[in-house]
């Protein structure tokens, strides 16, 4: 069991640097209530004691996302997230032995069906119909042993709230909150679900995910646009893949694929768990040890090899659609761990946060050509080099071309002229205030701790980023803007209304 590094000197340094007028929630006082605890198997816990109310929030951050997928299994990270609610050999089943055999038969039936379906010519219709029937019967037989949604029900019944999970390009996260006296319940459930997951109802859940794809991507003009955009902006890096996966992959990947994916990526060294609320680290660490030491250490997966090559082409994507126009413009930028990360944040702030932002004032207030405009960093993720993304919705009577021109004008300005003193001050004050505001909710604190620990290797970076922002100069902003906002670094995508002449 490793101890954390000594950081008292950092707290002192921070106090010396921090502006005296601001009563910031600082690293020193925060650290007093935070305990880092690492198990032998590599799993990291961050426990923050916050006795505001008798509740506790849990956040499990697994360092695997859609970027770890390859063609053929796109959508699998997200699929596994759905699967992680299906239970274990002791939760969600009435008879595990019988169910296990039934599931093996489901796999066999599926493979037979898939083989026939993928024959040249599409397979013999009669055989297909028979195999489909057998597959459905096998599933029904396996379903007979299921105690539906037992995992979620246990949590709900014991007063859990906010039960949810999410998958992105970089990460898969699982979280919920419980009354403060039920930490052991969480420890049991969370350790079991990653020790012994049973991927039951796999093919039915795959249907649900296909529905999700239809709902979020296929049926929404903006969903379609974003998928085309990100696939064009990235030529090599897996960031181009949609998190929900391509339909053809969703129709093809198997339960065995999901199990293999889980064995490769769900190793304790790849996981950080944050626990925030009315707990005492001393009391719960024994419980954490008891339940989570059972996870075998395994072998951490190798890091992603592919790096997006430098962008040499300007790209434009047009999607005709029966919808109002929508405009996207993205530029490649480095990962969140790059020292210039805070400069990109500052650029996005000055350009698009709030009513005083440059894009709002130009496009919405003065020119009145946009109903909405914004800039986002970290698209689609930020662990790897990613995109800084400009987004605008032209207002009625105005076009994509108009908003493009206005956006380019603001980009040129921020690249060529220093921002004002007030703008710089605002960026720095906002960073401090946002940090403080983020500390008023257990789930929020838990998610940030886990995220920063994983991305930076150190949760303290949550506070240090604010310190870095405090050091930004006007020259930094121009330097980064000039290097980033060049045509060969840019991908444009827009919805072109169908009856545009």
């Amino acid at each position: 069991m490793r101890n954390g590094i000594r950081y008292v000197w950092v707290a002192v340094a921070l106090l010396a640097v921090a502006a005296p007028a601001l009563d910031a929630q600082d690293l020193a006082s925060f650290s007093k209530r935070l305990t880092e605890h690492r198990l032998d198997n590599g799993l990291t816990f961050l426990i923050y004691e916050r006795p505001t109310a008798p509740v506790v929030s849990f956040f499990t951050y697994v360092n695997v996302g859609a970027a770890q997928e390859v063609p053929g299994i796109t959508g699998l990270a997200h699929m596994f997230e759905h699967m992680a609610f299906k239970g274990t050999s002791t939760i969600g089943t009435t008879d595990w032995e019988a169910e296990r055999q039934a599931l093996a038969r489901v796999d066999q039936a599926y493979h037979a069906l898939y083989r026939e379906r993928t024959r040249p010519g599409g397979g013999d219709p009669e055989t297909l119909a028979r195999l489909q029937k057998e597959f459905e019967e096998a599933q029904e037989a396996a379903d007979a042993y299921i105690k539906k949604n037992e995992f979620g029900e246990i949590i709900e019944r014991e007063g859990g709230v906010g039960l949810n999970a999410g998958t992105g390009s970089d990460q898969t996260v699982y979280f919920y909150s419980l009354p403060a006296n039920k930490v052991e319940l969480w420890a049991y459930l969370e350790s079991e679900r990653f020790l012994d997951p049973v991927l039951r109802e796999f093919y039915k859940e795959r249907d649900v995910v296909m529905e999700e794809r239809r709902l979020r991507t296929d049926s929404q003009p903006i969903g379609r646009l974003i998928e085309q955009f990100v696939a064009t902006a990235f030529v090599a890096h897996p960031y181009k893949q949609p998190v929900v996966g391509y339909m053809s992959d969703l129709e093809s990947f198997t339960r065995e694929d999901a199990e293999a994916f889980y064995r490769t990526h769900y190793v304790p060294a790849n996981m950080v768990i944050a626990i925030v609320g009315d707990v005492r680290a001393k009391e719960i660490i024994p419980i954490l040890e008891k339940y989570f030491s059972r996870l075998p250490a395994g072998t951490p997966p190798p890091p992603l090899r592919t790096v997006e090559p430098p962008s040499i082409a300007e790209k434009v994507v047009r999607v005709p659609d029966a919808s109002q126009p929508v405009y996207l413009e993205g530029y490649h930028r480095p990962a969140v761990t790059h020292p210039d990360n805070v400069v990109y944040d500052a650029i996005a702030e000055v350009l698009s946060t709030g009513r005083t932002s440059r894009l709002y004032r130009s496009l919405v207030r003065d020119k009145k050509i946009a109903a909405q405009v914004g800039v986002f960093n970290g698209f689609p993720g930020d662990k790897y080099p990613n995109l800084i993304l400009f987004f605008a919705i032209p207002s009625p009577g105005h076009s994509n071309e108009e908003v493009q021109a206005a956006i380019r004008e603001e980009i040129a300005k921020i690249s060529r002229e220093p921002i004002t003193d007030d703008e710089l001050k605002m960026v720095k004050t906002r960073a401090k205030a946002e940090l403080i505001r983020g500390l008023d909710s257990n789930p929020e604190i838990a998610s940030k701790l886990a995220e920063y620990q994983t991305l930076f290797g150190d949760w303290r970076e949550l506070f240090r980023q604010v310190e870095r922002i405090d050091k930004i100069t006007k020259e930094d902003i121009m330097r980064v803007a000039q290097a980033t906002f060049v045509p060969s670094n840019r991908t444009v995508a827009m919805i072109v209304p169908l009856d545009e002449k």
């Binding site: 007063g159 709230v161 999700e212 239809r214 709902l215 059972r294 009625p396 008023d440």
Partner: protein, 709 residues
Amino acid sequence: MRTQNRLGVLLLAGALAAPATAQVKHYQEITYPPLPVFSIPKPQVVTLKNGLTVFMLPDRELPLVEVSARIRTGSIYEPPEKAGLARLMGVVQRTGGTARSSGDAIDDFLALRAASIETSVGADSGFASMNCLKGDVAEVLAVFADILRTPAFAEDKLQIAKVQARAAIARRNDNVNAITMRELQRLVYGEDSPLARNEEYATIAAITRDDLVAFHARFYHPNNVYLGVVGDFDPKAMLRLLEQRFGDWPRGQKLDAPAVAYRKHPRPGVFYIEKKDVNQANIVMGHLGIEMRNPDYFAVEVLNEVLGGSFASRMFSNIRSKKGLAYSVYGGVGAGFTAPGVMRAGMQTKLEKMGEAVEALREELAGIITHPPTPEELARAKESILNSFVFNYDSSAKILRQQMLYAYYGLPANFLETYRANIEKVTAADTARVAKAYIKPDQLALLVVGDASRFDRPLSTFGPVTTIDITIPPPPDTSAKIQRSENAAEAGRALLAKVARTLGGADAASVVAISSSATTTVSMGGQFLNLKRSALLVFPDRLRQAVVTPMGEQVMVMDGGQGFMTMGGQVRPLPASMVEKEQEDLRRDLRVLVRYHAEPEMDAVAGGNDEVAGQPCTVLAVTYKGVASQLCVAADGTVLRQTFQGTNPLTRAPGQVELRFSDYRPLDGRQVPHRQVMLVDGEEVMTSTLESWQVNPPVDEALFAKPAA
């Protein structure tokens, strides 16, 4: 702390030498220590002399202060012809500045301090809030008070808010979920109910700054306001500050909530809205729910938990998990404060499963009545609600918000505490009774949004279908109206005949086809785009238009009631709505008006005198097959201008269109305008210069043939 930690852990590690699995309990065997006793902090409540009610709840954890206000107002008070007034007032109250400061100055002031002030107005309440670092409270509160008491409603900010309101209207049919939720609301409450009516271009246009001022003056008085303060502050000092900022705010008339109009009797039936570009059917069924004050509210909460509120719920288990029909399925009896809520159940599913899905939903709703919650379901639902109860008061801000809400709606201050006891009291018989009382399958309005051509069975198998037209009503026509009279009609026909002779020549009424080509300059935000266009019009309604853009050639062909479009090698059929629009455009096309000037379906009425760029002309209102426009005709019979309610060609937005024709040159015995300028809502959008023009060219049928995809 760290060293102690490490030591403590090492000691425990020794104690855990035995294999961990032996000590892991199955969850059913885990025993929980009691939940720490926690008494819900109560805000201090003070009423100022002028009636302003203040709630205060200090919390020293973070150096922040939040002040929020709830005002007795809402869109339920606005006149129907100005739908959107209350909401716009809520928007411009914040952006439009105050007596002391412009909106932009306030934005800068707040941005510099990373503080925020927001205002809004909903159906039955107005809101205002401020959030800042504790050191800035006095300064920010001063601005907050000004915004509440003396907003300036600057005209230019009202215009911006209207632009955004129009944008939202233009987009309101783009998202299928939004359509579904909105239209169900309209079916249940009635389209004219303030709870369901739409903002329209006409209602937005009708709203003036005076309206905003009057609306604010009517409601924003201290005795209509609840104010709450939470965060790191001292109550005595805060009260002094509030007295300073609000003490002299004059009382106003005490207002009672108006009777909110909504459909009291259900309108069951089957309703359909076509949406072609989706893979999913959005299904929802509903009728009125209950009021919050209904003593059955608690039994209904438990019923909702069993029906659709959780993983264990029937709808989730049966429809999502068992049948795999949907990613998202929901159902429950909604409760409202000012009016009953909505009982709704719905889901999204593949188009090809629509029928199956509707059956499944109906089954669940019927099922909860015929097979009410079992003792096991009841126990689980109650446990769920009661065990998670602590989350109702897990932050000071939440506690404060609730207390203000109860006061606002006249619920007892201990509503939260008694809520717990009331849930505990609910029996299986109660849930059976409320299921029967508040879920009425025969009163349901069923709405399906999607593409009927792909349904697994016709929607009519569920009952006679009413199709709802969600076409957005166009903006009001702001062009001058012409008085109709016998003389005017006669003069009109004569004038139109003159136009026809001048522009169409002697054989105007028998021309077969016209082909033309032009260079068009499109102006966009200071930049210009040049396009080469060509058109072939074969009367009465065959049109082929080609545009060469920097991106390639785009061709649109309309042949009677059908059409297609090609762009970049892709061929797409023209949606029916677009064909309709093209046909409508043709009916006011100058070439068509000339060609059919003598037909009985042509209506022409002469108006007064006007001028275009200094040249006098006579107004002529023309309507052909129901499509209207106004011409301005010069003395020599040329048409100088045409105006009509149309659409901006660059976007789909409706607007007032003006075409100006000039540089007339004689060609083949006809006067042909060689320059055309198009303006939309007064702004120049396109200019066209004619390159070539031919009457009765040979028509190559291949030009109208649809290429292979």
